[in-house]
């Protein structure tokens, strides 16, 4: 927490622009965002080891394309965008390995949760994850960003490249689907 209190985004962005300071500055970025991004990825892929791999890929991709970040958007928005893409890429690969269509539900990912040593949720929490897994990937991303990460629609719009109105509608539909899931599986 001490490191977070000294994190100055504007200064870090400036340091990222110079060869001799960029690496150390990116170390600050990792320290500041690893937890936030990990939890978003974890809620998408469910398994800890998979989340760990996707988080690594996210930071590697951000670092190797750091020259593309010019500070026009917030660093968090840019990192979230990479994390969202990496998560969906991972899920699609898993679907392919499991001979599933990209449009199929992600319920197969939740099935591993019960035996996951890093999941200690109760039946209700598992049921909620099952309900969320019935949502299409993009809608699930919208739901997780809004409900768990409490991201503002305006920032979400930049992350996902979708209008605020469409995101609000998507979140509303996600809530209805989750309610329906609970009613049908009562």
């Amino acid at each position: 927490m001490a490191a977070r209190s000294t994190y100055d985004e504007a200064q870090v962005i400036e340091l990222l622009r110079h060869q001799d300071t960029a690496r150390a500055a990116f170390g600050q970025v990792i320290e500041h965002y690893s937890s936030t991004l990990y939890w978003h990825i974890r809620r998408m892929v469910y398994n800890h080891d998979d989340a760990n791999d996707v988080l690594q890929n996210t930071f590697i991709k951000a670092w190797t394309s750091i020259n593309n970040f010019r500070g026009d958007a917030k660093l968090s928005t840019w990192l979230y965008k990479i994390a969202v893409n990496e998560s969906i890429t991972f899920i699609n690969k898993q679907k392919s390995l499991n001979h599933l269509s990209i449009d199929d539900e992600d319920s197969f990912l939740v099935n591993q949760l019960e035996s996951d040593e890093f999941f200690d949720g109760d039946a209700a929490q598992l049921k909620l994850q099952r309900a969320i897994a019935t949502l299409p990937d993009k809608q699930r991303t919208v739901f997780n960003l809004r409900y768990y990460d409490e991201m503002k629609y305006e920032e979400m719009s930049e992350v996902l490249g979708t209008s605020v109105g469409a995101l609000k509608a998507s979140y509303h539909h996600a809530l209805k689907k989750i309610e329906s899931f609970f009613q049908e599986n009562d």
Binding site: R17, A22, R23, L55, I60, N67, F119, Q125, L126, Y147
Partner: protein
Amino acid sequence: MKQEESKILKDLGKDPGFKVPENYFEDFNKRMLDSLPEVEIKEEKSVVKKPKTLWVSWRPVFYAAATVAGVFAMITVFNSVNGSTGSQIQKLANDIDKDKNADELIMSGDANEYDVLNYQDSVNMNLEKASDMPSK
């Protein structure tokens, strides 16, 4: 946000029940930093602003003035060409009025056949108009 949430979600709370290994983030941060590949940072070259010279300051005004002058010159040339044609015909009319032979004018280079025909047409037209008018 609170108004959007359903009762089910309110009852369940926001803890999904996920856990991470002990000291996971501390270890991850260190491992991650150590495993970053070498990347060449493209540093933006700082542009040193040169002080503006008088020429640089007034250059847009000069270009605008030159454009206006150019247009004005083109109009003047165009008018003078049209004007000289008009004055040639006038001179021809005067000479013919002075009973100069048209052939002489053509031979002397003061007029060509086209000018003479034009003039004759206009004279013929005026004569026709005059004959159409009722006599008093």
